[in-house]
Amino acid sequence: MTATVQTVETEILSALATVLDPELDEPVTELGFVRSVAIDDEGVEVHLRLPTSFCAPNFAYLMVADAYDALAGVPDTGRVRVLLDDHHDSDKINAGTAAGLGYVGTFGVEAEEGLDELRRTFQRKAHVAAMERCCRAVLASGAWTLEELPLLELFDLPEDRLKLALLRRREAIGLLNHSHARVLVGHDGEPVAKSDLKLWLRLAATTRVSIEGNAHFCRGLLATRYADPVGAAPVITNSRSHP
């Protein structure tokens, strides 16, 4: 056995870590939304849970469907099952996702359209918040002034997690990530005009506050609901007969 071989557990957890709560923009693994992972010869069964039974069904559905897709991409996993526990639409969402019905197929008359637009809205907000964090950091470092910000390029950002997060979010909304791309752009890639700069940054800061605050709220509620320490790790069992 060598240390470089990834265990099936880590592969599955890494896959789940790519699933984000669409509104909070944080991985479901870090939010404590993954209750358990059971691996056996048949495949893998993951149970997800949410801070309240009234979490919006459209967001819940997105997370279940994304988890399903992420796990299906892990080689040799076998049959994938993702189940949402303790939600007012658990049965509906679980059955619909298992059958690959999609959101509209799952909710029938209740769903007028798919969830792509909703997802895009939150991806755009996540991008705005990530951009604002980078801008704040370069302003705080004293390397850039407010007036110079419109000229800031990806190349100018220090290689840290703030930049990585920004690149990921840019990619998600279809922006190019070449090193001379401007940082301060709208979701259409258009640079922010100098005259709008102050107001724009202010609104971006409010977006960041809103997203961060919601994440605090959800973590606290989840801990209250399940009497867990905040950020509790999922229960993982592996009963596979082969490695």
Binding site: E23, P51, T52, S53, F54, C55, A56, P57, N58, H88, F107, V109, E110, A111, E112, E113, L118, T121, K125, R202, L203, A205, T206, T207, V209, S210, E212, G213, N214, H216, F217, G220, L221, A223, T224, R225
Partner: protein
């Protein structure tokens, strides 16, 4: 009223309930899920020494209500916000008759706001007229995300909703409280989106739109709209208790609100019995923006007075005793 450090505060609690979440009132499992969700909010965000036991929380009745608000909670006037949820509870969640009876007994202390649903069409309009007369309505509380048959929510700018808003104008109902906050059950569309407020606020300038829960978890959308519409207000119910559990987040919320919509359009609300007003009032009066958050200016006692009561008093035409008024406003009004 509340006094601290030589300052006197007139307190209007803009968001209170008498509810019945007992098992005997559950129509289905959602009735239990709903009150359990409220109880988790309560336990998650309250200081430990004011957390209730579950049974008391599901139903506390009028006597406890009066004690918690007026005997102990410093509240001078409180406004009931109706929460009917008839799909989950046999006799509704908010206890209309009990609340209205109490408001009739104590008109100087209590205002009763009822609800309507524009999806009830012409019959609902008739009902609204009767309700306006019976309850002497000055305000209504709307749940745009409430389920109704096949519908999973409505927008304020839909044609029927507009007819109801116009009827409100006719009937002298000037305060439209809209629940735009934590999820109940939106599904096919994002029923908590605040964009519909933007449209109707522009079209009905004589109505005041109070966005409850300041649009959380979409604070930035609310701020953006409220800053452009002079008749849009932010109700702090559900945002308030962060003052204890997450004070830095609370500082950010209140800092953002003061920046975007200003001190005249923010309204205190405990959301009783989610939280009791006593500790919220005490903590808010003591509250200050942390020094390491220079992006927000300090909050003044004058701003706190407006938020805790004077702003709501002005919307509801309450007679604020002279000693609580601000110097600039003392000559005006009643």
């Amino acid at each position: 009223m509340y006094e601290k450090d030589g300052e006197s505060y007139y307190i209007v609690d803009g968001h209170v309930h008498i509810w019945d979440g007992r098992a005997s009132n559950h129509k289905n499992v959602h009735g239990k899920e709903f009150i359990d969700c409220f109880y988790d909010y309560h336990r998650n965000l309250s200081p430990e020494d004011v957390i209730w036991d579950y049974d008391t929380y599901t139903y506390y009745g009028a006597e406890r209500f009066m004690k918690d608000l007026f005997a102990e909670g410093y509240v001078d006037h409180a406004i009931f916000q109706a929460t009917l949820l008839s799909d989950f509870y046999h006799n509704g969640f908010g206890q209309t008759e009990e609340a209205f009876g109490l408001a009739r007994q104590h008109p100087e202390r209590l205002t009763y706001n009822h609800a309507y649903d524009p999806r009830n069409g012409e019959a609902g309009l008739e009902q609204l007229r009767r309700d306006a007369e019976r309850f002497n309505l000055k305000g209504v509380k709307l749940y745009t995300a409430e389920w109704h048959g096949d519908s999973r929510g409505y927008k304020l700018d839909e044609p029927w909703s507009r007819r109801y808003l116009e009827e409100c104008l006719e009937l002298g109902i000037t305060n439209v409280h809209v629940h735009k906050g934590p999820t109940i059950k939106p599904l096919d569309r994002d029923a908590f989106d605040v964009a519909d407020i933007d449209k109707v606020a522009t079209d009905y300038l004589d109505l005041n739109f109070i966005v409850e829960h300041v649009g959380l978890p979409r604070l930035e959308d609310f701020c953006w709209i409220a800053t452009q519409e002079s008749n849009v207000y932010g109700g702090l119910a559900v945002a308030m208790p962060f003052i204890h559990a997450r004070p830095r987040y609370f500082a950010q919320i209140i800092g953002e609100l003061l920046y975007w919509i200003g001190e005249d359009r923010i309204l205190f609300g405990s959301d009783y019995a989610l939280w009791t007003p006593k500790w919220l009032v005490e903590k808010f009066v003591d509250f200050q923006i942390p020094e390491d958050m220079p992006e927000y200016p300090a909050i003044t006692p004058e701003q706190k007075k407006k938020i805790l009561g004077l702003n709501a008093a002005s919307l509801y035409g309450l007679d604020v005793p002279r000693q609580f008024r601000l110097p600039a406003a003392s000559g005006a009004g009643v």
